[in-house]
């Protein structure tokens, strides 16, 4: 089942590349100072930073990983949005942006330097830089593998070409170019995926038809079966879900990850910065319908429904050309195959290649023409994720590592040059990381693991930093180290059911607890890391000397004036937007309960 894109599909992809590169070239002339390159001169309106905030995060893990999870776990995957992302986005907009934007910090690590001290910043900057490069590599790997499987393109060539295009536009136009392209990519992804959900749902007979075809009630309810890990396909119970994903992981990501916060920092005013994540929350809430539903549908439709007479033809073609075979798969999700092309079997069951769920849907439902648009949307999602990581990396490298430790007194032009150089070597390391990522199977699980180690303790640090003026630099630093260590120890002492000790956990030689699933283990790793960081930071802070109040003005809640939204219509006020977002959110959780 391999599609054969026509000239029309290639033209669409070509036009998309032309526009993406064109935007980079046009913006080159605006890049005069390092502030233009790294912060877009703090001049971008809220609707643009809002869509970029969303799109920068919209990498491989979203489109491919969420489709895969949808196929595997069903509608409960929406917890990543309706429990995870949205409340955290509302929180960062309402309560944290005043400190990020108001302190005039140029990056998240720099805020830590202003609020705490140099070593806390260093720790955060370095771990962030490493994580960013890794994420970007995962994006690239996913794209390379996908294009290879789906279209027979060369894995290496796919990675190099996409990296070069991203390199070109971020090198030329810096953050502005990344942000503007992210807006373009956002629309492309939405417009490219709507027909997929529409055709898929129409084919299975709407939501009710999908429910009937799935035939497993636990896959079509998000909360009903979360009472105990044994009753739902995710193997997670409600507390682990709410605390682990909903609180620790999601707040850790959306509230402290510079990749997304950088978009808000580029906004043209405090109000715009605060509205950035709130504006992003509206489309974000609806994304499950675009990315999770196709995955669920992929598991229940068959290639055979591609009109009766064609069936024999399709399978004959597959056999003849040795391409993706659906033999032994589920719906149109093919099985994973070993080197000899035979389906992988584990515990008597065929292992499915869930990452192919969404891409196979594109192939199944899009005729030539729309297929080009769909492929473009896929590539756009990879590229926006990659560019987001690249711009975040080059800022943190230049401001928080290079300017802080290597060369403190160079001219602004030199830092602008260094930003461009960092774009080049950051992407080069990402390409290397793409090959490392090749050995993991579910992209989502790997990312969750990385986030759990690095990001989970972080949110405790920011929470205390912004809302407890007594927290000290030494406390924050020890808390972060303690939290990350706790994550590693917890991961090393536990194992998800059915896994052997190794990268999945249990590497400390002793397994004290077995979780029903990898996801449950990851959520609990995060909970342990966060709690440890919180406790250690509080204890050490109480033992060390606090900073005088005067130095903390504008950095801590108690010592900062509340932002006033003067001159805004009522519907533009951040608080009003937040209430609307949360109301819709409750309704969505209720509908899919």
């Amino acid at each position: 089942m391999r599609p054969h894109p026509h000239w029309i599909d290639y033209s669409i992809i070509g036009i998309y590349f032309t526009f993406v590169l064109g935007i980079g070239f046009v913006l080159k002339k605006y890049m005069r100072t390092s502030a233009d390159f790294f912060l877009s001169g703090r001049s971008i309106p809220a609707w643009i930073t809002g869509l970029a905030f969303l799109s920068a995060n919209l990498g491989a893990q979203e489109v491919i990983g969420m489709g895969a999870s949808g196929a595997k776990y069903g509608i409960a995957t929406s917890h990543f949005y309706w429990v995870g992302a949205i409340p955290a986005m509302v929180f960062v907009g309402l309560f944290m942006m005043p400190f990020y934007y108001g302190s005039r910090a140029r990056s998240v690590p720099e805020y830590l330097k202003l609020r705490f001290d140099e070593k806390t910043r260093g720790l955060n900057a370095i771990s962030f830089a490493v994580m960013t490069v890794f994420s970007s590599g995962v994006s690239m790997y996913a794209m390379g593998k996908l294009l290879q499987l789906l279209l027979g393109w060369n894995f290496n060539a796919a990675i190099i070409v996409s990296a070069l295009v991203v390199l070109a536009y971020t090198f030329l136009g810096g953050l502005t170019s990344a942000i503007y392209n992210e807006v373009l990519q956002f629309f492309l992804i939405v417009i490219g995926f709507i027909p997929l959900t529409f055709l898929g749902l129409k084919d299975v007979g709407g939501w009710d038809g999908l429910k009937a075809r799935i035939g497993n009630d636990a896959m079509v309810h998000s909360w009903k079966y979360l009472g105990s890990p044994s009753t739902n396909p995710m193997g997670v119970e409600w507390f682990g879900m709410l605390m682990g994903l909903g609180f620790v992981l999601s707040f850790g990501y959306w509230c402290t990850d510079f990749l997304v916060v950088q978009r808000a920092m580029a906004a043209d005013s405090m109000t715009s910065a605060r509205r950035t994540p709130l504006i992003a929350a509206f489309p974000k809430m609806l994304f499950p319908f675009l990315v999770i539903l196709p995955g669920m549908i992929a598991g229940v439709v068959s290639a055979a429904s591609m009109s009766g007479s064609m069936t024999g033809d399709v399978s004959a073609n597959v056999a003849a050309r040795g391409e993706i075979s659906l033999e032994g798969g589920k719906g149109i999700i093919p099985p994973k195959v070993d080197e000899s092309g035979k389906p992988l079997v584990k515990d008597g069951k065929v292992v499915l290649d869930y990452d192919l769920a969404t891409p196979m849907m594109l192939v199944r439902y899009f005729p030539s023409g729309l297929l080009g648009l769909g492929l473009c949307a896929l590539m756009a999602s990879f590229m926006s994720g990659m560019a987001g990581n690249t711009t975040a990396f080059n800022s943190v490298w230049t401001y928080d590592i290079y300017q802080s430790y290597i060369n403190k007194t160079a001219s602004d032009q030199h830092y602008l040059w260094m930003g461009r150089a960092a774009t080049v070597f950051g992407l080069a390391i990402s390409v290397a990381a793409a090959y490392v990522a090749r050995q993991f199977n579910n992209i989502m699980d790997v990312l969750q693991l990385v986030f759990a180690f690095v990001n989970a303790p972080l949110f405790a640090t920011f929470l205390l930093g912004m809302f407890w003026k007594r927290a000290t630099g030494n406390g924050a630093f020890c808390g972060l180290l303690g939290g990350t260590a706790a994550a590693a120890v917890h991961h090393g002492l536990t194992l998800p059911a059915g896994s052997a000790p190794g990268v999945k956990g249990g590497f400390l030689g002793l397994v004290v607890h077995r979780y029903p699933s990898e996801m449950a283990q990851n959520f609990w790793t995060a909970i342990f890391a966060w709690t440890t960081c919180l406790t250690v930071t509080i204890l050490i802070s109480l033992l060390t000397k606090p900073r005088p109040d005067a130095e903390l003005k504008g950095l801590v809640y108690a010592l900062t004036d509340r932002p006033k939204d003067v001159g805004l219509s009522w519907y533009q006020k951040p608080a009003v937007l937040a209430v609307v977002v949360l109301t819709v959110l409750l309704m969505l959780n209720w509908i899919f309960w």
């Binding site: 643009i48 503007y180 373009l184 417009i191 899009f366 005729p367």
Partner: protein, 78 residues
């Protein structure tokens, strides 16, 4: 900044609309619609939607450009 992202977005989707919609019109009744898109000529209809979206974006970009120019003029008169 004198750059409006709605302009390239509008241009790109208008081109996509004409291209995909035109292709849909030219391939009316093709068996690929029966095979893939449930018998719906999705290229044609989605091409029209993209053309409309592109048009709206271009219109918004143009409105802003006009508003910016007249604001400029008012400043000069003052």
């Amino acid at each position: 900044m004198g750059f409006d992202i709605r302009l390239p977005i509008g241009m790109m989707f208008s081109i996509f609309g004409v291209l995909v919609g035109g292709y849909g019109a030219a391939t009316r009744g093709s068996e690929m619609y029966a095979r893939h898109s449930l018998g719906i000529n999705i290229n044609f209809w989605w091409g029209i939607v993209m053309l409309m979206f592109g048009g709206v974006m271009l219109l918004l970009a143009r409105r802003r450009a006009v508003a910016a120019r007249s604001a400029d003029r008012t400043l000069k008169i003052k």
